[in-house]
């Protein structure tokens, strides 16, 4: 799949932002007043910034409001609804913390559930696609949720939690790669099933339907990333998981904490780039590619 920068930015930043909102909703850390204002500002910049970035890949962003209507069937619509509900709930909860020094634990818990729900609905947009076997597996939501919880804990300064959650996210990341590598073969979709001609003999793409590239090939047949997959996976794992854990184990300082967050962010962005670049869409089979 084509790794569109807007979608990578969106899922990386908003995943981190909603992860932070989740922990803030649970009162971890139990901040009020000015400190709470800083935490909530960071969380909203990440979450809303990510959402804004996602609108750049729309063909007609002026009609984006219509995306709230089809929550009965569409995970993308559910994500839009869930994100707005989470942001509104957490805004009320945050306003009480900042301006009234009051913690409303039930409202916070509701906001936390909605924040995590937003991450889950984002993950389900990809998980539901049977056409991309690498994404169509239970570990995809687990990956998005664990990365969001780990990054959120890191940003919320919850060192003890982050030290558990980062390795967990790392393990799920590795497992997702492992299972993903054989997903297309296990899906049973081949050029033979795509053409219905496999009973005659071995089917090979002989001539494409046109001489230039088209929307389908630009969007769904992206192969550059796979050549360096192993190197990029190592980079993602080192920056996203290993380095932040090492920095957290050192005596605490704000500088090391900030470095850990930046390193984690770069690692998750790399992993997210690979998430798209490595994913094979079955339509590639019609073009003799994968």
């Amino acid at each position: 799949m084509h790794p569109a920068p807007s979608v990578i930015l969106f899922t990386t930043l908003s995943g981190l932002g909603f992860g932070l909102l989740f922990w803030l909703g649970l009162g971890l850390p139990a901040v009020t007043g000015r400190t709470a204002f800083v935490f909530f500002t960071i969380a909203y910049l990440l979450a809303v910034g990510g959402l804004a970035a996602s609108s750049f890949h729309l063909g007609r962003p002026d009609r984006a409001w219509r995306a709230f209507s089809q929550w009965k069937t569409s995970w993308l619509s559910r994500e839009a609804c869930c994100a707005v509900l989470a942001l509104l709930t957490m805004a009320a909860y945050g306003a009480a913390l900042v301006f009234a020094q009051t913690r409303l634990p039930l409202l916070g818990a509701l906001g936390a559930v909605l924040s995590l729900g937003t991450v889950l609905t984002t993950a389900m947009i990809y998980t539901q696609l049977r056409t991309v076997p690498r994404w169509h597996q239970p570990l995809t939501p687990a990956l998005f949720l664990s990365l969001s919880l780990a990054g959120g804990a890191l940003l919320a300064g919850q060192t003890d939690l982050a030290l558990w959650l980062l390795p967990l996210a790392g393990a799920i990341l590795i497992a997702h790669w492992q299972l993903g590598d054989s997903a297309l073969a296990r899906s049973g979709t081949t050029l033979a099933s795509a053409t219905g001609l496999g009973h005659i003999g071995h089917v090979r793409a002989f001539e494409p339907p046109h001489t230039g590239p088209n929307y389908l090939m630009r969007e769904m047949v992206f192969v550059v990333g796979r050549k360096h997959a192993l190197k990029l996976r190592t980079i993602a794992l080192c920056l996203g998981i290993v380095l932040p854990v090492a920095l957290l184990l050192l005596p605490f300082s704000h500088l090391l904490g900030a470095l850990a967050v930046l390193s984690h962010l770069a690692g998750v962005a790399t992993a997210r780039w690979l998430f798209f670049a490595e994913a094979e869409h079955v339509v590639g089979l019609y073009y003799g590619k994968r």
Binding site: G59, F68, I200
Partner: protein, 247 residues
């Protein structure tokens, strides 16, 4: 609404005869013509007369080589457009309700005034039947020429999809695949019409008739294909490729 109907009154669709198709691409051109000149947003081209032309098409003809265990390879021309699936994943993923499946005839359509061009329906389609038009910013797909088939201003014989009307080989058939006694259903039964990618669970309506068995002859098998000479990426991917190569 993006909820699929439990059942549709009819299942209009195409039956494509791979034995008869000569790969002339006339259906591609007539489709582009009709759907550019009529009600919906035109099928735009980008850089049409430049060095890298590209454009939106609702119907494309691939060609495949089939190598049997014995005997010579066969060449099959393979037109592909929307299969108007009964369990159309492109409909249920749509966040705006722009994509829908009609109860009266099963045609899958896009309301271009509601489409936000997010592209998720194209991702959900295993067949590559949907293309985002870069000029209009909305998703385009085969309408089964819904503006022809019920159009009483046209002569009776023209009330079929443009691709069917234009096919010089008679390789494309249009009809109700929900009616077991229709011409198209009988053709599918007689010739063993196939579903594409049944494992994807989309339950497509369109069917493909496999090529009839060829005469037997004795010949050497085809030589192995050569590896591609150069596929070096350029621009940012090229830079990334080189930078990572050096690591």
């Amino acid at each position: 609404m993006t909820q699929l109907p439990d059942r549709t009154d009819r299942k209009l669709g195409l039956v494509i005869d791979l034995d008869t198709c000569v790969g002339c691409h006339a259906c591609v051109i007539s489709c582009k013509g009709w759907n550019t000149e009529n009600e919906s947003a035109p099928l735009s081209d980008q850089d049409a007369y430049g060095t890298a032309p590209s454009g939106t098409f609702l119907n494309r003809v691939h060609s495949y080589e089939i190598q049997p265990d014995t005997g010579p390879a066969q060449l099959v021309h393979f037109p592909k457009s929307c299969l108007h699936c009964e369990d159309a994943p492109c409909v249920t993923v749509c966040p705006t309700g722009a994509s829908y499946k009609r109860v009266e005839d099963g045609i899958v359509l896009v309301n271009e005034d509601h489409c936000i061009g997010c592209g998720l329906c194209a991702w959900s389609c295993p067949y590559g039947a949907r293309e985002l038009d870069l000029a209009a910013g909305v998703m385009k797909k085969c309408t089964l020429c819904v503006d022809r088939i019920y159009n009483t201003h046209l002569d009776e014989e023209d009330r079929v999809p443009a691709c069917v009307r234009t096919c010089p080989a008679g390789a494309r058939h249009f009809g109700d695949l929900g009616d077991p006694d229709s011409d198209v259903s009988r053709l599918v039964a007689e010739r063993g019409g196939a579903e594409l990618m049944p494992e994807q669970g989309t339950r497509p309506v369109n069917r493909y008739l496999p090529p009839r068995p060829r005469d037997q002859w004795q010949a050497d098998p085809a030589p192995a294909a050569l590896a591609p000479v150069a596929d070096t990426p350029t621009g940012f991917p090229g830079w990334l490729d080189k930078a990572l190569e050096k690591l």
